[in-house]
Amino acid sequence: MDRFVWTSGLLEINETLVIQQRGVRIYDGEEKIKFDAGTLLLSTHRLIWRDQKNHECCMAILLSQIVFIEEQAAGIGKSAKIVVHLHPAPPNKEPGPFQSSKNSYIKLSFKEHGQIEFYRRLSEEMTQRRWENMPVSQSLQTNRGPQPGRIRAVGIVGIERKLEEKRKETDKNISEAFEDLSKLMIKAKEMVELSKSIANKIKDKQGDITEDETIRFKSYLLSMGIANPVTRETYGSGTQYHMQLAKQLAGILQVPLEERGGIMSLTEVYCLVNRARGMEVSEKGSLTSEEFAKLVGMSVLLAKERLLLAEKMGHLCRDDSVEGLRFYPNLFMTQS
């Protein structure tokens, strides 16, 4: 909770409102705090919470401070929630409701529903990262995640340099993105089929789930890097599980985060985590410019340029058919 800063709640120029929802309670980690009824606003740059009773009590965090988000479904007597994992607060942070906190995440509880749509919009903003392209006033700018050793680039030269850095990073990510995407797709597809068959058996009581199926299911989990299938059941309460998972993620993400100046999109995180957990390559997928634009968070035009450049450099090859133009990893060069 120490990441929040007091704010007037007014949007800056270039900052747009995306969605808002009444009846939201904030938790500091697992703890209930006094902010139990407020309106939650999502803008292109920030997450703002305003107390319903006292409108002057208004605070915000930058979207760039969010590491990743999770959904928590509603239960009996429990509202649906969004768990927001955050970067540590920068030392020069403006004042807010809490000076310090032992938690690196907060929970947003949607007492008057609206969680699903809010989560969807928040995910979208996290992927698109519009705050990067729409600069706002300096006061908002200073609140970024840790950037060890990174030169604060300003002006045209700075913008150009940042674009260049991003371009280099994207080129490297292109082939990695393809691998991860397709590794995931084939594995997930198999898992879904198997899960369906098992679920049906349970539902229709059609005989026993064979040992073979159990072994196959466990081996899929293993191949996804989950050596010991961790479920809510195995690990008791959600908190403990989240802590374990968060620890694992922290280990995987620390260096890559530092390399990227402390900010990563959710898709990048997911790709890295799965790669670290060592998924096998079994089939390669493909991307159109539109799909790629969405994946890395850039315009379709720019995405197409990036793909064409990667093709020129021999990393990708094309499939031009009535279905459209798709790009594949260049297996002609890599396969014997």
Partner: protein
């Protein structure tokens, strides 16, 4: 028609059916096509073809080509599971190498010596999975091995005679055989002659 022919991995790779603009990639792609055409024709014992036939053949048409398509949904629950949902039904489409690209593949084969146009309008061609010079060499080796230099054979004897049953050139089509012998003729190792009911060859 496909019989037990084993298609190479490229045949199931959609970009194989698009002529690649990148020069290095194209080189690899064309090499793969040439190799596929030759092994296909070899297995099906096809020594000649028209361009029309080629266009309709499974060789340049993979009717069962899969193009991977789908939507990625992130469904985070406590174990971060993911779901892949197909856009609509099965994504089976067709992989068809356009005729201009087929022409380019055929031209590559011609440059390598494995193809010869049979007419000026380039509508039909001879396809030789071994180049004529290579066949010539094999034939001449057999002739020398069996001590039959200075013997005369009819073309039929060479390809269908009992004596050549174990040889690779047994069953070779006449058009290719002739070209093989012409190659030997160039090297003064053979001479194509006329015999009673057709043509024959004398080896030196």
């Amino acid at each position: 028609m496909a019989m037990s022919f084993e298609w190479p991995w490229q045949y199931r790779f959609p970009p194989f059916f698009t002529l690649q603009p990148n020069v290095d990639t194209r080189q690899k792609q064309l090499a793969a096509w040439c190799s596929l055409v030759l092994s296909f024709c070899r297995l099906h014992k096809q020594s000649s073809m028209t361009v029309m036939e080629a266009q309709e053949s499974p060789l340049f048409n993979n009717v069962k080509l899969q193009r991977s398509k789908g939507h990625l949904f992130l469904l985070p629950d406590s174990s971060l599971k993911y779901l892949w949902r197909k856009a609509e039904g099965r994504q089976q489409t067709e992989g068809k190498l356009p005729v201009e690209s087929i022409q380019i593949v055929l031209e590559e084969l011609r440059k390598k010596g494995n193809l010869e146009w049979l007419d000026k309008s380039k509508s039909s061609f001879l396809i030789m999975w071994r180049r004529p010079e290579e066949w010539g060499k094999l034939i001449y080796q057999w002739v020398s091995r069996s001590g039959q230099n200075n013997s005369v054979f009819t073309l039929y004897e060479l390809t269908n005679g009992e004596d050549t049953e174990d040889e690779e050139f047994h069953g070779l089509d006449e058009a290719t055989l002739l070209r093989a012998l012409q190659a030997l003729q160039q090297e003064h190792k053979a001479e194509i002659i006329t015999v009673s009911d057709g043509r024959g060859v004398k080896f030196f």
